[in-house]
Subunit: 360 residues, 2 copies
């Protein structure tokens, strides 16, 4: 097991990564609290026995369920869950455990942020994406009909327990989709992680504990590092959006149904790499290595749309303040920079490149 | 005009109190922002001309409306308003102006707290209650079906503009209801304010500017003082709940329809005063003065319920952690203390006293 300490201006908490963490969960939690666990019916069906194993019978958490799917990541579910908490007497000292994938983590964290103006919570992420991405950084929230994550709060958990064993029941596609965030971590800030993934692709895809622990630990360390320096995304934190401008646009135009978030980011990185190559912020050889690692992880799902639609959707990306499109370009392997002068024409070209690749 | 500087651990901002503030509103706002104003149809009908007078034509705020009434202080309205903001392209640098009573302020502040994980806002409170109470302290939020203000955030405004002129169109009953919060301020922490209100009852009820400015300024100063020392209500801030244990219970059992919040707090203070007298934390003479000031402001609306129901409803008050009922008792005029040993029997007696008074 390894522990990464996240330190930001507003909070400090540990992220534990390893095998067998569920078995000792109760001992790690603060005492004298009422526990509530928010989870999905599927995860609970697979893991409730192991999850509850460490709890004394009279301190078992009450279970709240969030139906699966992005379409339930909405305020109406937050309201229902808050009313459930309130009707069973949850108070300001209650502790919420968000046990599931990114949607459970984001919505659970937001529920904890606004129930009685804020209660404590811990994260037990059950997908690779949630372990490496959404469990660190304090961003919580839900979607509006007009866009993803447009409602939310910064609210850090007391601790994160990323149990690698949970990944054994993860569908193949979700495992692979999560790996794109680790590839992203390698490209923008950690050349060693990038090279580890190049050398150990087989072990990672076979879900070998040691390889996964290394990849997840390094990805979390990278994100903790960046968030620690820039919690509110005024500068450095923006590099975490590498692949996200076009990625979000692809998700939006495909109605959030065809691709998983990680897959869309995979395509987004391919588009950004194209731009990086034309601007020569990466060498041809570096671009080949990055593209190869992205493609080796998975045959990315195909999709159809027009480049114009993608550029228009990218214009609505909430990361862009009026008039300025911030775009993240890799600068070699393990380094990235924020540029503000990407024109619509360039973006159109990158979108066309992605679409050509996506049609093959 | 007077300005009170609110200083808490997490924020610092000015509260301006005086006449004619609307006329210069635009000059006081930060520039280079898109402005949005959240208001009620009624307030906008009365005051939009004055509100907009200082804005250049091309910088006029876009208007968002919240229907009047406590029943609209819910997440569904927050979601609708957030979607409206998003659909017209409001971004993280947009500024929301909450222009209205306590509901507009609480809901508007919460909307600002969670739209894109937090945007700036300013308060322009239009009722006495909102000016003296809800505009200071950073508490924002909405109701659940299971209780009031159970969903929310701490989110401080950039500034508050309490324009006394707005009180000229306030219905009599609302003016009087708001005065109970000022009486509360006097009782728990400001003997000078209490005595000023005793001496100037007529001028206050006639809405003379000078008298109102004094009362409002002193009330805000008291609250800013308390919140500055204890933002998150771990200790001192609890004294602000004087009158609120029974007050909330009365609101709850009467379905939030029969009494205004200030009126319920008025009755709650009468109940707490009864307890203070039996426990001798106030002298008989002090109790008479306090009761007289409460009653002189208004013939409080009557209501019917049982003392048992009130005690049960008080048990659900969110300010009580499991097992402990914190209760605020005045200790003389201008001083209050938190006690934790009020029994159900004592509370029942106080509730009976309130009910006897309310039935007269």
């Amino acid at each position: 097991m390894s522990t990464i300490q996240v330190k930001t201006v507003s909070a400090e908490y540990p992220v534990h990564v390893g095998s067998g963490l569920l078995a000792n969960l109760y001992e790690k939690l603060p005492k004298q609290r009422r526990f509530f666990v928010l989870t999905s019916p599927e995860i609970w069906g697979l893991w409730s026995k192991q999850f509850l194993a460490s709890f004394p019978k009279d301190e078992r958490p009450m279970t709240l369920f969030l139906p699966p799917g992005e379409r339930h990541k909405r305020l109406t579910q937050v309201e229902r869950l808050a009313a459930e908490l309130s009707s069973v007497g949850a108070d300001r000292s209650s502790l919420l455990i968000a046990f599931g994938g990114g949607i459970v983590g984001d919505l659970g964290g937001f529920l904890a942020a606004i129930y009685m103006r804020g209660i404590d919570y811990v994260q037990v992420p059950s997908t690779l994406l949630a372990q490496v991405d959404s469990s660190v950084g304090g961003k919580t929230g839900v979607n509006l009909v007009t866009g993803k994550n447009l409602i939310g709060s910064f609210h850090h958990p007391l601790a994160v327990y990323a149990d690698i064993d949970l990944l054994q029941t993860l569908p193949d596609r979700e495992l692979r989709a999560g790996l794109f965030e680790s590839i992203k971590a390698g490209i923008i800030r950690d050349a060693e992680l990038f090279e580890f993934m190049e050398r150990n692709t087989g072990a990672i895809l076979r879900r070998e504990t040691e390889a996964l622990e290394h990849v997840i630990g390094a990805s979390i360390r990278m994100k903790a590092d960046v968030v620690g320096m820039d919690e509110r995304e005024s500068g450095l934190r923006m590099i975490l959006n590498f692949g996200h401008t076009l990625g979000h646009a692809i998700e939006a135009v495909t109605g959030y149904r065809r691709l998983l978030h990680g897959e869309a980011v995979g395509w987004g990185m391919i588009g950004a790499l194209y731009l990086a190559q034309t601007r020569r912020t990466v060498s041809a050889e570096e671009a080949i290595r990055m593209n190869r690692l992205i493609h080796v992880m998975e045959a990315l799902p195909r999709f159809k749309t027009s480049a114009e639609k993608l550029v228009e959707a990218a214009g609505h990306d909430k990361k862009n303040r009026t008039g300025v499109r911030r775009f993240i370009l890799p600068a070699g392997i393990g380094n990235a920079k924020v540029v503000e002068d990407v024109t619509d024409a360039e973006l159109l070209e990158a979108a066309n490149w992605v679409l050509e690749s996506a049609r093959i």
